[in-house]
């Protein structure tokens, strides 16, 4: 029996910023190579040539090339469905950028096409490999803070919404679809159980056409509450992660994973010197003294994003189970639809 893995050829459809990120990443992955690319923009066809790729002359040419095993769809969001379905029908396996598409009905059609063609269809939820997420997941899974009752996940920028297709509704722009799809996917992996209630609001600070930020509170059946927030007009950022347990708090401030855990060491020592402000005093809100708490570094988890493609190849070969499952992707899509509905109606929406 030959245990050596076979070689996989991948064609990139849509060679923008993310398409090129895939090209660079795949260069560092064994048994996988980019065999070509196609982009509707001539400048990006030239970019392909400049980087040693052979550009296909059309999307149809990609589909017609028998050496293509996997199509990567990295186009604007509104054409994902067509590209994915046609690629599957042409017998290709498909990796699709996130958000997979613009509605759960679209996604169902894509899933159906995948089943019919008996080909792998997987969504590039790459931020499952982000180390800030994996570190908070470890804190949660190992119960390092005691019972967790609240998790806050924020992504704050101050550049407004990008000036490309991401600011147009018909192309699937907006921050719920762009960043919400990551933070929601992470939160649903982090917290077990059903999401019972969703309340959300959106902002239109720099853009009227699509949301340039949102805030969503999820209530899980356990009672745990999760706050998800994305902002693009935040000139001072609040922490990327903030997790509250009965016995401590964990925080990750930024992309560099600067953060800490502060845990209680002695509940019985509860006396406080009141804090005086201009107008009064407070004992309740007096900071704890060092003798009852312990500040510790986070148990940082390292990751290798190349594992995404390694898992894709192993799944195609029947040697592994796919990590990014379609039912998970569907759940996130439906949750985004609930967030849109809640924000529009200004009401709490029942979810699961």
């Amino acid at each position: 029996m030959d245990t050596k893995s076979r070689q996989f050829n991948l064609a990139i459809v849509g060679l923008g910023g993310m398409g090129n990120w895939h090209r660079e990443t795949i260069e560092r992955i064994d048994n996988l190579q980019v065999c070509g690319s196609f982009d509707i923009k001539p400048a990006r066809q030239q970019f392909a040539k400049d980087h040693g790729l052979v550009p296909y002359e059309s999307f149809e040419a990609v589909l017609a090339d028998p050496k293509v095993d996997i199509v990567l769809c990295a186009t604007p969001n509104d054409v994902h469905r067509e590209i994915v379905v046609r690629s599957l029908q042409a017998g290709k396996h498909v990796v699709c950028e996130k958000p997979v598409t613009l509605s759960s009905a679209d996604l169902q059609a894509m899933i159906d096409a995948s089943k019919q063609a008996d080909r792998l269809f997987v969504v590039h939820q790459n931020r499952r490999w982000d180390e800030d997420f994996l570190t908070m997941k470890k804190v949660f899974d190992e119960g390092l803070l005691g019972e967790v009752f609240r998790i806050e996940s924020r992504v704050h920028g101050s550049r407004g919404i990008p000036g490309d297709w991401r600011q147009e509704k018909r192309h699937g722009g907006g921050m719920i679809l762009d960043w919400g799809v990551h933070t929601l996917d992470q939160m649903l992996l982090l917290v077990p159980g059903k999401v019972k209630k969703v309340y959300a609001s959106v902002t239109h600070v720099t853009n009227e056409l699509v949301d340039d930020g949102f805030c969503a509170e999820l209530t899980f059946e356990s009672g745990l509450r999760a706050l998800l927030e994305v902002g693009t007009s935040n000139f001072v950022s609040l922490p990327r992660w903030y997790m509250l347990g009965r016995d401590g708090t964990a925080v990750i401030h930024d992309w560099s994973l600067k953060g800490e855990m502060v845990r209680i060491t002695d509940w019985s020592k509860n006396d406080a010197v009141p804090i005086r402000t201009a107008a009064g005093l407070t004992k309740t809100m007096a900071p704890r003294t060092k003798d009852t708490i312990h500040t510790e570094p986070l148990p940082v988890v390292k990751s290798d994003i190349r594992d995404f493609y390694r898992n894709v190849m192993a799944t195609i070969e029947g040697k592994a189970e796919i990590v990014v499952k379609l039912d998970q992707v569907m759940r996130v899509m439906k949750l985004m639809e609930a967030i849109f509905a809640s924000a529009e109606r200004q009401q709490v929406v029942d979810f699961e």
Copy 2:
């Protein structure tokens, strides 16, 4: 005409932590003196003696003393109503600690008693004089951030709820009544216009009987959203204030007023070097470079809490208008009731 202010005598009913704070503060106020106190606890009667006060032998003795101009009610919240109404009926002016009482119906009865007796009834919303609040109000009023679209006001401690009557529902315990009454009062003074929607949730981390924290989102008719949060199991605190405008962000981290404003200087410079994380890259969330933003100190506002009592005395003398108005106090009370209702029903509540 005698322009010299007359001398006012104030009797303290309830000489706990806050009652004693009043005693100390009044020592530094001209034309006002504490003429005695009453507390149902013998130890606090002794405390009065130890600090040079003559303790009254009963609440009735306070009311019967003609030299008492003003009664300060600083008891647990559930007996405010009785003490305030009886004091007014005895012809005394009344200063009442916050929260003024436990329901808007109670408050209405107290307001009615004040009108009937033609005596001043004022609530000690002392945190209107807190310098963090006054500083953020200046940032807002002077439009230093451009149009403000979101304000977050957080008070985070990690000592659980106090172990005294504040953990009992029948005494009016819980953090909505204890700290919410301040932060809501501040927010309603800060933001003009009606509050249209209220969504709130409460926590019971260290206490089952009363809320030991809450989170409330208010939507104003202008579209501005305000988040109010109080927590008592937060071992790492998020900033006390966070204000987002179209052209900048202001933050106050803690009681010492540590904070800053970051404002945009050049919207046209928008290019970014993408941030790389373990699993991907982002241009949208790349921090701004120094050439397009300006970080500035906050325009710190100083205050003198003694102005509260100076205003009370001037109002009694007909020389000033009362600062803490009863219709404002009633509005906050009704907003707290909306917060309780929203949290219980897990629904958005229409407010004004």
